[in-house]
């Protein structure tokens, strides 16, 4: 019995030693990989900067590893830069084949690979990827759908507004990610939002008006004022919220009228509690911002 226990203890000790050695070796391997990666970044950084700045220079022949690192650096730069720099980054990914590889990646069997491809396409800033990313909003994997929504927001095309709103409302994409993607569309989305503010579905109208408050300006407030009289309480609440952000001094009158109507107890069916809460909150927020 004692002998058996001793044998077991020795075996366990041996297993522990093997595991520790394996961990140490793995750690050394990872450190070496990190060092090589850092060295590669140092090598390719001047080339990456020259590319985004449009400098003419002779492109060295890069190893496959260096090409991968260059793509990573340019993807990182695309998140920091705007204007001509991002157009040059897009051109690099087109001419180097990176775009085609990433689009093909959306059809791989493994979900994490499809998600990685969808994510990379947003940083490549190539508008031709939009149809494939829109299709990826219906991928069976939530991870892929979220990456596609994020990348569509990065591409900032105004005709993506309605598909992203629909993905947001259908909860095909986590609300936080879809919301950020919609806000990232920025002012470019305003013409489409003004059109969608008349959508037959009240939830779509409400989302469009709320977004207008986030990315529009006072010139767009007329739509929100009109939405204060929408048959849907959710739309009216969104309108009040939007006017708190983009309303003009003239729209204060409309907001106070909406509050007054709620306070006079007009038909409960017309004014839901959400109306009053949102309108009170945003009227005071709006008034405070204007001081």
């Amino acid at each position: 019995m004692v002998r058996a226990l001793v044998v077991i203890a020795i075996v366990l000790l041996a297993v522990e030693v093997v595991l520790l050695i394996a961990l140490a070796v793995r750690r050394v391997q990872l450190a070496a990989r990190e060092r090589r990666h850092a060295e590669a970044e140092q090598r390719v950084r001047p080339l990456a900067i020259a590319l985004v700045e449009g400098e003419e220079l002779e492109r060295p022949v890069l190893s496959e590893d260096d090409q991968t690192v260059l793509a990573e650096v340019l993807s990182r730069y695309s998140r920091m830069l705007s204007g001509d720099a991002t157009a040059r980054i897009a051109e690099y990914f087109r001419s180097s084949g990176g775009l085609d590889t990433a689009v093909a990646g959306l059809r791989l069997r493994r979900a994490w690979k499809r998600a990685r491809a969808a994510y990379a396409l947003g940083d490549m800033q190539c508008a031709e990827a939009i149809p494939d990313l829109l299709a990826a909003l219906d991928d069976r994997s939530g991870e892929v759908r979220a990456a596609a929504a994020r990348s569509l927001g990065r591409l900032k095309a105004s005709d993506l507004t309605l598909p992203l709103i629909e993905a947001f409302l259908a909860r095909r994409v986590p609300r936080g990610i879809a919301g950020v993607a919609l806000v990232e569309l920025g002012p470019a989305a305003v013409p489409e939002l003004l059109r969608i503010a008349d959508h037959p579905e009240p939830q779509v109208r409400a989302t469009a008006v709320r977004l207008l408050g986030l990315v529009g300006d006072s010139g767009d407030s007329a739509v929100a004022v009109r939405a204060l009289r929408d048959p849907s309480a959710e739309v009216r609440a969104s309108a009040a919220e939007a006017l708190g952000r983009i309303g003009t001094s003239a729209s204060e009158t409309d907001l106070r009228a909406a509050l007054g109507a709620a306070n006079r107890g007009r038909a409960q069916a017309e004014f839901a509690e959400a109306d009053m809460i949102a309108a009170w909150r945003d009227l005071f927020t709006g008034l405070a911002l204007r001081r």
Partner: protein, 131 residues
């Protein structure tokens, strides 16, 4: 081309950001445009460089370790040697309240990230060209 301080061949710009990529991009663009660039990686280092080298203009990130860009701007404005130095804040903090805080601290201009290197150069040239 803009005028530099007496005794300098080129105007000197202080660039402060804890992000190496941003620092490299800003430095490249400004050096290509004919400026000498001093680099700092945190607010405290930037303050020391500003006091010692008295650059002609500063491009400052806001979210930096040791001292953020708002506090750094206030300190530069409070010291006589650097009180008139033009300051451009280059930052991802894009809310109206952040912009207001930047101007209240004494910044001359505010550029949001993601940014265009060409626009940054134009703003630097515009400010230094007025002096």
């Amino acid at each position: 081309m803009t005028e530099s301080a007496p005794g300098r061949e080129q105007p000197v710009v202080l660039a402060a950001d804890d992000d190496e990529d941003i620092l490299a991009l800003v430095t490249f663009r400004l050096e290509r445009s004919g400026y000498t660039v001093l680099q700092a990686r945190d607010g405290a280092e930037a303050l020391e460089l500003a006091r010692g080298e008295k650059p002609d203009l500063a491009v400052l990130d806001v979210m930096m370790p040791k001292m953020d860009g708002f506090e750094l701007t206030r300190r530069l404005r409070a010291e006589e040697a650097t009180s008139k130095m033009p300051i451009i804040l280059l930052t991802a903090r894009a809310q109206d309240a952040d912009v207001q805080e930047g101007f209240d601290a004494g910044a001359d201009d505010y550029l949001r990230k993601p940014f265009s290197p060409q626009e940054l150069r134009s703003r630097v040239q515009a400010i230094l060209g007025r002096r």
